[in-house]
């Protein structure tokens, strides 16, 4: 049997046949007899006392089964949990009720729940519920929320300050004093809305006869949701089954535990019938988490030759009205630890203030903390280059961590696994023909045309792990991943992974890994994920960790299987195990390749167990829980070329080149796709997307009409290339590719636009760089 190596092959995805024919298995597709529909009434006020709720009209409507207020649910549901309790930060976790009880704290806070026979009736019933509010002054801006006299969200959180986190490494004051150049800036990293195309939802089915709850829901991490659902409903974990096989995108927004899923679970138990809740897009915009939203004060200390000697950051992170599941960890660890970026900056001094405001809670959105750090650093490096009249390429080269210094211990304490930053930069420069491009830029300027070249040289931390680090950071869970590899008597293989891909294509890449490891045909490998009843335990898909951590678990489990198979083969071939060689799915006697048997034949013998020695158990499967020794650190260089029309502020994309190094690549087609999508989201932050609130806390961009996720015509084609620097952290040498594009692209685009506007003396414009903002900046300078 010829088995070709699949690692590195651009194999077409096995997820696709069901998805291109309309046979996907998304939550809203599941139908159970007797299902009731649930709808949530949400607060139109950002901050108000609930004076009275009158549900009497709704209750008597035909087709309405039940109506609940927050008060009705107090005994049925514990508060929404926060699972990242960042230590040494004086963290305060205020009570977060699934349905508000006395007070609402953001537009979208749940105030009542209707259960009805169909969605139209449920919607009518929501309208019939009367809520009397006493509006309170609201605060939206995180800096204003800290001011004396600001509206207070909670008695137990003075000044709305949920935490103050510090990371002080080295002596910044000394670096500042000794610096030849000092640069200070206030930067805004504005709020974004993840906007997975599939809204969130759940179908909860509690069986009163067995006491079991099955819940289909839009989850990136079904086991974490099972654990949290157990905590909030009081049902034992063993009686809860969470299923999330097809999930229509997440980008972080389907990690947290939310009110909707919790309520559906509790009400199915209360009513003894299946309950379906699917949010509308408008609900998704107000009641599914948002991301980013930092105000950053940055100081950079440097020498005249461009060497950066220290970075100091004071960041104000807007956490919204409640602490979402992972919220405290995002603007702290995932931000602060990366503040040195790819540069050999010796001193990092970071203070982060986590602030509660009357806005939708924020949490992990693609990149989660790392885009905020990367944008800050890449923008400041460009500003420094401008100050020193250095080429942005040269200043980066000057500060890069040289490739012979890996593993590199950064001042933040992280140990960068491997890297060759110059290589990605050089390759990207080659691809854009940099020198020529600069000439062209100068020529065009003579003609009154303004093109700009923007750089982003980034490194990010992904493959989120290991568990010890998670513990030290206050994450209330381990960060390993599990896998079972089961070889059946027929030689077919089922693998169960704790990762839960929702667009990343691991049903394909994991099958590639396993087929290679076991030497079986790709078609013979089935990949199972997203069902807590089938998978032993899993931490889920986020933080670009599935391949690096979940894939490594699979490979380790395969190796255990092979080890056992080798012992069985040796016994049957009547030689010592060390005299057996495994190659391309076949075990044979060293030096006698004719004497052998295939792994499929061994599998059959393992199950027949007729001829097994007593010390070998029948069956052929293995479980592995992989806890890596370190994170992985992908890196790269993105170059964006734009033309800006100073008359209108319009930005046209001329070129976008991404050279990433994500270690070894299992399926280049899939990695390219991840990079494209990532760039699109980061580029959109630079020029399009903006979650805008008015001063009263009304979300102005609360629909797809108002929130500008890019359309096809708004994006260029991206040129994607790679260098390969494997990581020593896992046996495959893979790093992770889900977030690189988003982390890298925002500063590349912004730096390009600012570079284009250099002749106008413009050094900085806060994102998003909308035509209006650009036009105003040009106008101001032209006066």
């Amino acid at each position: 049997m010829a088995v070709t190596k699949l690692f590195g092959a651009p194999i077409k995805r096995r997820e696709d046949p069901r998805l291109i024919t309309g046979r996907g298995n998304f939550t809203d597709h599941i139908r159970l007899p007797g299902t009731l529909v649930m709808a949530i009434k949400r607060s139109p006020h950002a901050h108000a006392r609930i004076v009275r709720i009158d549900t009497s009209k709704a209750r008597v409507m035909r087709g309405v089964v039940a109506v609940y207020t927050g008060q009705d649910l107090i005994d049925k549901l514990a508060p929404v949990p926060c699972a990242w309790l960042v230590p040494d930060s004086d963290l305060k976790v205020p009570t977060y009720r699934a349905v508000a009880v006395d007070k609402v704290r953001y537009v979208g806070d749940a105030v009542a729940v209707v259960v009805a026979e169909d969605r139209y009736v449920a919607q009518d019933a929501l309208e019939a519920i009367e809520v009397e509010y006493e509006p309170l002054p609201a605060v939206v801006d995180q800096e204003k929320a800290l001011e004396a006299g600001a509206p207070q969200l909670y008695e137990e959180v003075p000044n709305n300050l949920a935490f103050h986190w510090k990371l002080h490494s080295g002596d910044f004051d000394a670096a500042w004093k000794e610096a030849e150049v000092r640069l200070s800036r206030r930067l805004i990293n504005h709020r974004l809305i993840p906007t997975a195309m599939e809204p969130r939802g759940a179908l909860a089915a509690y069986n009163p006869g067995t006491g079991e709850l099955t819940i289909w829901c839009t989850s990136q991490n079904p086991h974490i949701h099972r654990l949290l659902l157990s905590a909030v409903t009081g049902l034992p974990e063993t009686r809860i089954r969470v299923i999330a096989t097809d999930v229509g995108g997440g980008f972080g927004s389907k990690i947290p535990m939310y009110a909707g899923e919790m309520i559906a679970a509790a009400l199915s138990r209360d009513l003894g019938r299946p309950i379906k809740w699917i949010e509308t897009r408008q609900e998704n915009y107000v009641a599914t988490i948002h991301g980013r939203d930092h105000v950053q004060y940055v100081d950079i200390a440097a020498q005249r030759d461009g060497t950066i000697t220290g970075v100091r950051v004071r960041a104000y992170a807007n956490l919204g009205a409640y602490l979402s599941t992972a919220a405290p960890g995002i603007p702290t660890w995932l931000f602060g630890l990366m503040l040195q970026g790819p540069y050999a900056i010796p001193v990092i001094h970071c203070d982060v203030f986590g602030v509660l405001t009357n806005t939708t809670p924020t949490d992990a959105y693609r990149g989660a903390g790392r885009p905020e750090a990367t944008y800050l650093l890449e923008r400041m490096v460009d500003l420094l280059a401008r100050e020193l009249r250095m080429d942005p390429v040269e200043i980066r080269r000057k500060n890069f961590i040289p490739k012979d210094r890996f593993p590199y211990t950064a001042p933040s304490g992280l140990v960068y696994d491997s890297g060759d930053y110059e290589a990605t930069l050089n390759r990207a420069l080659e691809l854009v023909d940099y020198d020529n491009l600069r000439h062209q830029q100068a020529e065009l300027r003579q003609q009154g045309r303004y093109i700009g070249i923007g750089f982003s040289t980034y490194v990010e931390v992904c493959g989120l792990a290991p568990s010890q680090a998670a513990g030290a950071m206050g994450f209330q869970g381990g960060l390993w991943e599990s896998a079972i590899v089961r070889v059946h008597p027929t030689g077919k293989v089922t693998v169960f992974t704790g990762s839960n891909p929702h667009g990343q294509g691991e049903e394909t890449t994991f099958a590639q890994l396993v087929a290679d490891e076991l030497g079986v045909p790709f078609e013979d490998v089935e990949v199972i994920h997203g069902d807590t009843e089938m998978v032993p335990f899993g931490m889920g898909t986020y933080g670009s960790r599935s391949t690096a951590v979940g894939g490594a678990a699979l490979v380790a489990a395969c190796r255990k299987v092979k080890e056992k198979a080798q012992r069985i083969a040796a016994h049957l071939l009547e030689v010592a195990p060390e005299d057996v060689v495994f190659e391309n799915g076949r075990f044979f006697v060293k030096g006698a390749p004719d004497r052998g048997m295939t792994i499929q034949e061994v599998a059959l013998q393992a199950y027949l167990a007729w001829k097994l020695p007593r010390d070998i158990e029948p069956g052929l499967e293995a479980t592995h829980f992989w806890d890596p020794t370190n994170n992985t650190f992908p890196f790269g260089c993105h170059i964006c070329v734009v033309e800006v029309d100073p008359e209108t502020g319009k930005v046209t994309f001329l070129q976008y080149v991404a050279v990433d190094d994500v270690g070894n690549v299992i399926n280049p087609m899939i990695v390219d796709g991840q990079v494209h999508g990532g760039i699109a989201q980061g580029l959109a932050q630079a020029v399009y997307e903006y979650a805008a609130y008015d001063a009263n806390g009304q979300l102005l961009s609360a629909s797809l009409m108002d929130y500008a996720i890019p359309k096809a015509s708004m994006l260029p084609s991206f040129s994607v290339d790679r260098t390969v620097t494997p990581t020593p952290v896992n046996p495959m040498g893979v790093k992770g590719a889900g977030e690189t594009g988003t982390i890298a692209s925002t500063p590349a685009v912004v730096n390009a636009v600012i570079d284009a506007l250099a002749p106008f003396g413009i050094e900085h414009i806060d994102i998003p760089l909308t035509p209006e903002r650009i036009w105003r900046a040009v106008l101001e300078r032209s006066r």
């Binding site: 077409k12 995805r13 997820e15 696709d16 046949p17 069901r18 998805l19 291109i20 024919t21 309309g22 046979r23 996907g24 998304f26 809203d28 597709h29 139908r31 969605r119 139209y120 906007t195 997975a196 195309m197 599939e198 809204p199 097809d246 999930v247 229509g248 995108g249 980008f251 699917i278 509308t280 897009r281 408008q282 929702h502 667009g503 990343q504 294509g505 087609m669 899939i670 390219d672 796709g673 991840q674 494209h676 999508g677 990532g678 760039i679 699109a680 989201q681 629909s703 797809l704 009409m705 996720i709 890019p710 359309k711 096809a712 015509s713 994006l715 084609s717 991206f718």
Partner: protein
């Protein structure tokens, strides 16, 4: 109100509420869940189907307006086990990741290529403006549609 519609070649007659949206009729009455719902303002295009051969957003049509119509949904696109060239293009060129926007995107592309069998990249990007994808950055969707266009041209 009573309506009669032909969906993927099968004729159905049902009593429906006048305010029932066509997308809910397809999903909840006919159980054709391949047509997705991604928004409530007709922006996302996940619910796109062919109504009398033309791409429409089925969240913006009442079921009663479809009375007497011929409808094709994503489930009816492949014939005799043969994928439609657009479906094939999406698979070949990695035109989908999570797959949620995909049915609507494919239906829009099918309609578009009927009208413009040899489109430029710019025309494709313009044609799919009413369909939002959050995963792919559209690049491979464009390539998928180019693949289909070429295949359909060489096949005809």
């Amino acid at each position: 109100m009573q309506i009669t519609v032909t969906v993927n070649g099968v004729t159905y007659t049902h009593d429906v509420e006048p305010r029932l949206l066509l997308v809910h009729y397809l999903r909840d009455v006919l159980n054709l869940t391949g047509t997705h719902i991604g928004c409530d303002t007709s922006q996302c295009g996940a619910c796109t189907i062919l109504l009398n051969g033309k791409a429409v957003k089925s969240c913006t049509v009442f079921a009663v307006q479809a009375d007497g119509a011929e409808i094709t949904t994503i489930e009816g696109l492949a014939r005799d086990g043969q994928l439609h060239p657009v479906q094939e293009g999406f698979w070949e060129k990695h035109g989908l990741q999570c797959g949620y926007c995909t049915p609507g995107m494919i239906m829009t592309a099918v309609d578009f290529l009927q009208r413009n069998p040899n489109p430029t990249e710019e025309e494709i990007r313009h044609a799919i403006e009413g369909n939002l994808c959050r995963c792919t950055g559209y690049q491979n969707i464009v390539r998928a549609i180019q693949y289909a266009a070429e295949k359909m041209r060489s096949g005809s």
